[in-house]
Symmetry: C2
Subunit: 306 residues, 2 copies
DNA sequence: GAGCCAGCATGCGAAAACGCGTGCAAATGC
DNA sequence: GCATTTGCACGCGTTTTCGCATGCTGGCTC
């Protein structure tokens, strides 16, 4: 027999908000990820734990949050509602952590930097080396990816980006302007130089689908031979002599087996920016990195401009 | 005052997002409560657990959140920052739970009602009995307190309040107007009736500190004999013959050993309202309670008005 | 159709979190 | 001035939670 009526004369806090905030977060991640395994990876947990927490949350809330289908967990309307509010909780949590991080005056601990793959590989490795030597107690994490990591969600502490737009709540500092131009293997370059009227085979980004604008009118014949969605692959194709590719000067110049071809004169290309969230901009570690990066980039500016 | 020596493993993984939201909530409760024991009570935990969670949070964030003083945990600036953001997370959590509750169409489970102590005791007990009989599967929790519980924070699902203002995000329905008047023990009443010019000794609320306005001019002599901060105590004092007290009609009429004295003619007094949060207003259980309460209060309206 | 993989449930041993009891210090009450 | 209360730290035994291994299902490839 369970009790039907409870009298409370004192204001003892009894309201059954006994359910766990971590369970709400787990539900949110599962909605985002779509499967137990992906959500578990996001949370650094075993997927069994995710399943258990979701079950607990459903039990505590008295509502089904997911439909268990053979191809994964499908959120119900209630599950989406939970996820929506948990997102806002997550925003608060992220903001909090950023603010705490922004007050951190120590030059110890973790610092996560993200930058485009090829910028890291050809430009930043030396700086990274120097930074690690200068601040040996900082645990530097590099995320070399072309994805724009979400600095709001603290996927990285700072970013070096090839974009004019530092973003919404972010702050930015321009590191250098840069230009693009056309590059090809020496053999292709020789052929084109020998005969400007020969057909120029372009290797272009999948996004563009077309020959770059502003090609030199001295070379009238162009066609797109192939499209790629990855710059590393484009460069490899160009190196292998498959055609001409447009790429930033720093990249073409740093790539063995590629030479400039005059087909496309140097074109302004999105600038290189240092970007960080307002909240962490002034923190010791971010500042230390920035103050080493800015002069370094200035010193090698020649690699980016004609 | 002596501070406890704090050991922080300085290489705590500052960046593991894996830190617990529940720990943030624990910090928030400790800031609110001021002591481990009070926070633990709020959370339904042992205070040792609160201490451990706070220590974990400090370790994970790499910042001291509290100073351990002999008279309790004093939040640091960082602790206050954590609490501030956790409050917003808590708001989101509360909102979520309210919305889920608002969609709940079942007439089973828990329902928490709050009302002023004396209104429960003298007016609502019969209704509560009937409600429990009509909905035996609803677990009714009564919180009889004069504190205004926070319906936003789900300290109660619905409230019966003596106030014109249903509040900010709340909805309200007026149940009945009511009036107050002066009551005293029969002996005092006889004395005053026999000699209208005798000194009338008032027992008043600490908040007012003064004899009620609008006393009948036929009784010219008044003084405040004592002040109380509790209506139960005022009534007891009046019953014991210590003086005349102003109180709502329903209360004086329902109290043994008290009779009306004509010193203070019936005065308008704040109305009785049914109040609930928008989000839960239309839920099955709240609706069921309201639809039993409203006609009940109409049927006994005579007890509230002259 | 056999094999393979992604995705999930279940059971078990290990690890973490928890509650309780004890002990201590400072403030409070008689 | 001594007993009591409040508030906390620490150690121990227990409960809960977690990760891992196993087994199952349905869709996919060859």
């Amino acid at each position: 027999m369970r009790k039907r009526v409870q009298m409370h004369s004192s204001h003892a806090n009894m309201h059954s908000m006994s359910h766990s905030w971590d369970d709400l977060r787990t539900v949110m991640c599962l909605v985002r990820a779509g499967s137990l395994a992906a959500a578990a990876k996001m949370l650094g947990l075993n997927y069994t734990t995710v399943a258990r927490r979701v079950a607990r949350a459903e039990d505590a809330l008295g509502v089904a949050l997911f439909e268990r289908l053979t191809d994964g967990y499908q959120p119900t309307e209630a599950g989406l509602l939970v996820a929506e509010h948990a997102e806002r909780m997550s925003d608060q949590s992220d903001t909090l952590l950023r603010k705490l991080q922004g007050q951190d005056a120590s030059l110890r601990g973790s610092l996560t930097v993200t930058a485009p793959q090829l910028l890291i590989a050809h430009v930043l490795t030396r700086l990274i080396d120097e930074f690690c030597a200068a601040y040996p107690e900082i645990d530097l994490h590099i995320r070399a990816t072309n994805d724009l990591l979400d600095l709001n969600r603290r996927e990285a502490d700072l970013a070096i980006r090839i974009s004019r737009d530092p973003g919404d709540t972010l702050m930015g500092r321009r590191l250098t302007p840069q230009y693009s131009a056309s590059f090809a293997s020496p053999k292709i370059a020789d052929q084109i130089n020998a005969n400007p009227h020969q057909m120029v085979d372009w290797i272009v980004y999948a996004d563009y689908q077309t020959v770059p604008a502003n090609v030199d009118p001295a070379y009238p014949n162009h066609r797109v031979r192939m499209t790629f969605d990855d710059m590393v692959a484009i460069r490899a194709a160009a190196q292998a002599g498959l055609g001409v590719a447009r790429m930033p000067l720093f990249l073409g110049r740093a790539s063995d087996g590629l030479v400039r071809v005059p087909v496309l004169p140097p074109q302004p290309y999105p600038e290189v920016w240092f970007v960080a969230h307002r909240d962490v901009w002034a923190s010791a570690k971010v500042t230390a990195f920035r103050e080493m990066l800015v002069p370094y980039m200035r010193s090698i500016r020649a690699r980016f401009v004609p």
